[in-house]
Assembly symmetry: D2
Homo-oligomer: 370 residues x 4
């Protein structure tokens, strides 16, 4: 049991604080013989990297990943491949802006982990949130890049895991206009061009007001064959839900029809089964690709809600460590909508869960059809 590890056979252990010398992770269980260099990981980190538009925090971090172990030259190809030994990934912290932390050192920021860490541990690295900072999620994204390689190595045809921002505040996308290509055209990972256009002034207004807003992210995995997952306490949807809920600010998770299914009758919710040539197909995907905890072969569809960050300019009531009532205002570099950068993080978590389950499938003596 480890509170800082994730997964069973594809196992990621992260370490590091926001303002320490570095952050990193150890990826254990990666099969050998998979080509892997830093160039396979860096692009995913770049998606998550702060400071890329005015809609995310202005902290400047190159987030250059280094692979410190677990890869070696393949004799046949000469290229660098995984060796089956643990892969250590490391990212230096560069922009640890040397500032005055007296405010958050002694006052608890409402809605942050400040109070609860202090209650639990009695000591905490308060600089930039320390261990509870979203900076830790860079390691998840790095590990997720490895997970993608593992999935494509193990599963015939490969697996695509993609996320998108589908709701900001009360603004929803129009699902009929969903176009993955649009994600490249706006700073929100929004798949609906019209929505993205409307969100720009909306989120900018929030930013200028020093306020913040919540969001919903959807992650879709395509190419997952039927049979991935496990019954009872190893359910694929349970593991996805647990994984997404570990993301900073996440407050809700749903699969397929999700909370909407509560309002449906059995007739409306049915995903009927039909033949499509030699394959079995479904007339709908209320299930989100998972039945009884095991994938059905349909796309896996998961959504998670993130709350608005509590780091806002409006002063809020709080208390000091000594129990005195006071006010607090968060100045400095913050995300008006943490949901934007949560998109690559959500993708990474789902990729990690799937890679873990792909190995668990094999580890039950089962195979993937070729």
């Amino acid at each position: 049991m480890s509170h800082n590890s994730f997964g069973h056979l594809f196992r990621v252990t992260t370490w590091g604080e926001s303002h320490g010398p570095a952050i990193g992770c150890v990826v254990d269980g990666c099969p050998p013989g998979i080509p892997l260099t830093e160039a396979d990981i860096q692009p995913w980190l770049d998606k998550r990297r702060p400071g890329q538009s005015k809609f995310t925090t202005q902290r400047q971090e190159a987030d250059q990943v280094r692979i410190l172990s677990g890869v070696f030259e393949d004799e046949e190809t000469g290229g660098q491949v995984t060796t089956g030994t643990p892969i250590a990934l490391q990212i230096e912290n560069i922009d640890q802006r040397s500032k005055d932390y007296s405010d958050i050192k002694d006052k608890f920021r409402p809605g942050h982990a400040d109070y609860t860490y202090w209650q639990k541990y009695g000591v905490r690295d308060y600089r930039g949130g320390g261990r509870s900072s979203a900076r830790e999620t860079a390691c998840r994204v790095a590990a997720g890049a490895v997970a993608r390689k593992v999935l494509n190595h193990l599963i015939p045809g490969g697996v695509a895991v993609r996320g998108a921002l589908v709701q900001v505040g009360n603004e929803h996308i129009d699902r009929a206009k969903w176009n993955w290509a649009e994600l490249e055209n706006n700073p929100f990972f929004c798949p609906d061009a019209d929505a993205a256009k409307a969100w720009e002034p909306y989120i900018d207004g929030i930013r200028k007001a020093g306020s913040s807003i919540g969001a919903v992210i959807e992650v879709i995995a395509e190419g997952v064959p039927a049979g991935l997952g496990a019954p009872i306490y190893g359910k694929l949807d349970s593991d996805i839900a647990g994984a997404l809920m570990t993301i900073n600010a996440a407050k809700g998770v749903e699969i397929g029809a999700g909370f909407g299914a509560a309002a449906l009758t059995g007739e409306d919710n049915a995903d009927e089964m039909i033949r499509a040539g030699n394959k079995i197909n479904f007339t709908a995907n209320h299930a989100g690709g998972i039945l009884g905890g095991i994938s059905s072969g349909q796309p896996i569809v998961a959504r998670f809600a993130v709350k608005p960050t509590s780091s806002i300019l409006t002063p809020r009531k709080t208390v000091t460590k000594d129990g005195a009532e006071t006010d607090i205002t968060t100045k400095g570099r913050h995300d008006p909508c943490v949901g934007i950068r949560a998109v690559p993080i959500g993708e990474a978590m789902v990729a990690c869960v799937l890679a873990d389950h792909a190995l668990r499938h094999l580890g039950q003596g089962l195979k993937f059809d070729q």
Copy 2:
């Protein structure tokens, strides 16, 4: 790693199929010296037991639990207490109605695990759903009863974990009318007397039509001290989300404001901190009692949505194992709203997560204040 085990230090392993000779579980990690007899467990099983009203399946099961190990006479009190060794709990299957299973033996029921189990394993006990049957949840409720004892043993003041049905189809309770005492007065575990009155004809209509409907269950844990939980991948909310998502038919989970938080600004979502005598208090509980994965001392509030059961009288399209298209109709004993019986199950899962985290807290060298 085990797909049929749950928890780390308070660890529950379940076994058994719907129509096998028995079902059971092993509860490992229970501290010694806690008074425990079958009478401590049976009332919780009786809450979940089928056939208690016309709104749940008419399968008749006494669900009498037996403790086969892990308890012994205490020398001082003479009463039966836990010994620190594994507690084996067992329930015989009695009403395994000997019927014709030819329908579900060869046809996949849409929305069930039939198809995915078959895809994964190539063999399955199809009788009554076998391992994927909700019958397995009786073991969870039994283990949950032990978890409650553990919580009350470890945490000063004790912990109360209670669940309620808060939505059926599009029918919501009025939260202003919430009264825990009302749960005894209706067959729905509904805390709002007026809603319960309205639900009776509504659910009965669904039942008579051979249809089904989804629901939302809320579970609240009171008495949890600040500091329970853990950062990063051992977050209390992640574990609760994963746990609730293992419940049959669950499609969504949320904590505190949940998906509603996506629509809020930072100002609206803030749970400000104030003094209340010698204690620290909060002006609201959007967080659902958890910050950074660690409890804040406020009540823990979790909700989960269950889909309508796909076992309905209306014929639906499906395919046979041989890939031929056909229709299927589910006759027999089924729940019009599985959300009702999901209430004690949801409570049990949250109790198990909390007991596990209470032990994990101690296992990190930490203490509970007395």
Copy 3:
């Protein structure tokens, strides 16, 4: 983490006390589609069963195993096969001789777990040793029978795991006379006919004197392909050592040359590698079939030493729970040499470790050559 579970992917959880109503285990992670009935398990239990000769305890237990879950009729063959769901195995306790336990209730038996359980838990089922009784090992033997099926299912050519008694007191076998067939001809699982003949009066003398004697058991696994195991903390020899050391009374474990290797030079200890047709072979097996924690393709050779049981007729000094000095004599049914019945238990543990590692090998994305 569970103190009563063993293995990772082939995972066994045992429960039950010596004088409770039953003992049992849950075997999780067994691949589906493996033929398995009680008749596959019973013969191994019969080997371990007490009361079969005058050299083992006279407790009478039929040790009839029941499979309560995890198997179902295979459609094609009509035979019973595993389904990939947890296999619950159960054995009733029959001969719980209702006797006077006042002696061991209040006095600690030196060399038993009485004192340490009481120090740890403050309460214990003292009847027949309760949980610490070797009766628990019946569950290991039952699980080991399933492990053998798994090994033969996964590994081309199959794996044979066999144990033998190689030393009793100061009496050693002559390794030159090793003949597996002799195990059927004596009540000691001794592979050397002459040694067995000499041991009979020797052990009988110990039995009549109400004394006891230690022993060494050797377990050999043949057919294990090169590549099973894992580096660093998942080493095959580490897992075998840990497993054998969980057996009641075990005090030492060695692999291949074992402690003898301490006295060797590098030249003497070398297992040189040569060609044997198309295969690579070794000139010796000081390594016991394991290099760097991974199998080499040679037979795996492990030995473990068991101490003499402390249940003897000679009175020994001890103390009561209240701390008063006293004497204790163990009357009743006991094994003069617990090493005899440890043979099938040692085999079972090694089989379980190998089955677990076979699945772990697959779960790292690796295969067994066909």
Copy 4:
């Protein structure tokens, strides 16, 4: 499950290859508030560091450890303490002597993991043994230093874990001359001054001959209270045995009387219990401080045997990757007796097991008496 992690609640994950840029580990589960700086770890690393006498390999490594996370300034004392978050430790590889590896790149060294890694993974970092190099054990020693702090933090009175070399080849120490202080006076960690004097020319002869020799190391833990450990599969002796057997070259492990117990009668092996003032004491310690997997309060005594390294000057037969027969000679920097440097490693492993069990004890809701 992770092949590169060790322990459950005090959990160490190591990474890195002999000739990569660095090696390191993540220590998770360390309680907060324990003073910890690099100066607490470095002395233990210095004990294991190569090149300190002519009796160990001449590789030059400063083995300077850096703490990259998990510690922070304590508010009250101003000193650096653990925070309850993962502690990342890192050591750079400096003396990666750039040499010609062609010999071990294509030929398997008999007795090394070369062949088995290649059989398992099909690719390996052959430089200096890569992951299978004993260089990995530096991380264990670093983690062991943290474990010692944890033990002294949790257990009243503290725990001392000390190791010594007790046998080299056929040369044994005289136990009557055991003097811990002598360990400082010879380069072998030998507690018997006379033996150490005799070993010097003996081992030097082996070194000069380019040969090698096996050894036995004894580790003793004093101050462990009665009640540490767990029954069945979480036995303290099982965990110690498994831990010591993960050490490179280890071939055997024993507790207390160990293999010697096989030759004893119950009368001879008895550790009788007597009163010593207000405490319970034992007349002997054949049990090595562990009964039924749980500590008795006596010193815990474990021994392990290491084989002679197979890196010797005498040419030995081997095969190439292509299966051709050839000879191999190991030139370069090697230890004539790897048992010497195994002493601090064995200590570290026992300290880690004890720290893990101390936390597991608390995590079962139990306490240590004050």
